[in-house]
Every structure is written in structure tokens, then in C-alpha cells.
Symmetry: C2
Subunit: 135 residues, 2 copies
DNA sequence: GCCAATCCTACCGAATTGGTCCGATTAGCA
DNA sequence: TGCTAATCGGACCAATTCGGTAGGATTGGC
């Protein structure tokens, strides 16, 4: 139940980006310096955030990243899913993967489904706008 | 945000144990057969559950495990913590570990604290008694 | 006193993660 | 119009943790 450090960095970087005026072009170097995140790591994190559609990237001189949508429309769950994949406590939650030998006879799965929804809801309830607030 | 497969197995095994009469001596082999969990894995999982105080172990012939307390007094959070350690989304949540270079200047930590409490609360709200129900 | 059953500890291979480096692309300028 | 500088994008590599296995220690029964 711990998120990876890359996801952790992603939250910090996104919060820093949200403090800038909307639409501004933010390079990985700038945000790395503001947050203290090592530059190479920031690059990787922002690349994945862009691939997930949370950031829009522009290459070349003067390029950089900007938020794909308003900070209030991005949730903590969105950021975590961008780095770690779907929020699913167990493999059997996501309908596509079926590598659990117990599937079918498992008697706790329905209950875990409810618990998973509760966790996911808690993370979706936190918006990036909230995370960017001063304190 | 995904729990390890050992923690997943622990939930299944504990739920199976909770379906037996309270106080009965349950060997790892019995529960492994009932749940479909491989025996060596079940042994390891139950050993950790005993170390965490959720199960009480007895050695020797006729020995085995039994729940340390009533199923209604054991939460999903307890089981997960027994296998994975404290439920803390980030390292900086637990007061003892301080290996984050951003600490002190990090501006999102207070918000993550709230999110972490929400997740933990969701898991503490699910009792083993509920997990053991038929469906 | 011996034997069988059971739990406990230590070890090993494998997969994911975290980090680094180099190449591809674009805008600006001479 | 060609060149340079700046930036993103993808590929590679070491390290940590996870999952599984095997052997040893302990206890109760015959």
C-alpha cells in the first residue's frame, strides 16, 4: 500500500506546475529546480505524465510542458494512475488480468472490490488545486 | 497502490480461518487446502501473521494456528500491515524514516497526510468478520 | 524413548523499480 | 537557409524488494 517514489515525485512536480499561471511553458529543468527533484528523474516523471495526458509537451527551444486541463480537474488518483497504472489492490480487480489460480472459487473478491472502491474514492476526492495550495 | 500478492493471500487465508469455530486449531496445510493457496506460501504468510500478533501459533503434533482475537476485532488494515508494514503512502508519513531530500521544503506533505488518513480509514472500516461472510 | 507432525529460520532466483545516458526534434538566429 | 542551442523522448543498466523453496528446531503422542 505504498506508492512508488516516482509517483511521489510526480505529485510534487504537478503541484509545483499548478502554482504557475495556466498555459505557461514549464521546462523540466525549471520544475526540477523549484521542487528539488533531480533533473533526470523529473524528466522521466514528466514524460510519463505527458504520455498519460495530464501534461502537454512541446519540443525544441522554448518548449516544455503545461497542464493539459485545469488543476481542479486533475485528481490525486489521476497522477498516481499515470505513473503506476490502474489503482487496483489486487490483480483480479482489473477485468483483463486473470493470473490468480484462486479465481472463481475466491470468496473474498466481492468484499475487496468494495474496499478498493473506497480507496480509489479517497484519492479521487483530492484535486491538484488542493495540493497546490500554500499549506 | 497495489498490495503484494503475499498480503493478498493473507486476506484469503484469514477469511478462511474466520469461518471455523473460534479457538479451533488450524494447521497451515488445512487452510492451504481450503483456499487453494500453495502450502509453502501459506506457511510463510501465516508465520508473518503470527509474528504480527493476529494469529497465535502452537508447535508440535496437533499444533497449528488460531485467531488471536475475534474476527470482528481484526480489520483489513491490520492484515495488510502485518505483511507489508505500516500503511504509509510515502516514506515521510512515518515519523521515523527521513530519507527524502525534499523534507522540510516539501509543500505537499500536509495534503498527503490527509489523503493517507482517508485511505487508511477505508481499510480499517472493513472487518475480518465481513470478509468471512458467504458473499 | 522414539517417531511423526508442525512451525520457524535462512537462502536463492526473479521481477519490478529507480536512475542515467544518448539520440531525435524543434525553434531561434546569423 | 543553414547552424546552433535547448528541450523532450526512448533505450539501457544497476539495485532493491518480492516470491518461493528447502532445511532445521520443537512439541506432543505412542
Amino acid at each position: 500500500m505504498r506508492l512508488t517514489s516516482l509517483a511521489d515525485y510526480a505529485v510534487v512536480v504537478m503541484a509545483a506546475a499548478a502554482r504557475h499561471p495556466a498555459g505557461a511553458s514549464l521546462s523540466a529543468g525549471l520544475l526540477a529546480e523549484e521542487t528539488g527533484v533531480p533533473l533526470p528523474t523529473a524528466q522521466k516523471v514528466m514524460g510519463r505524465l505527458a504520455a498519460a495526458g495530464l501534461l502537454v509537451s512541446a519540443r525544441g527551444t522554448g518548449g516544455g510542458f503545461r497542464l493539459a486541463r485545469a488543476a481542479s480537474g486533475i485528481s490525486l488518483a489521476d497522477i498516481i494512475e499515470a505513473l503506476e497504472g490502474p489503482i487496483a489492490m489486487t490483480n483480479c480487480i482489473t477485468g483483463s488480468i486473470h493470473d490468480c489460480a484462486l479465481e472463481g472459487s475466491c470468496r473474498v473478491k466481492p468484499h475487496l472490490n468494495l474496499a478498493n472502491d473506497a480507496v480509489r474514492g479517497a484519492l479521487q476526492g483530492v484535486s491538484l488545486a488542493t495540493l497546490a495550495e500554500a499549506k
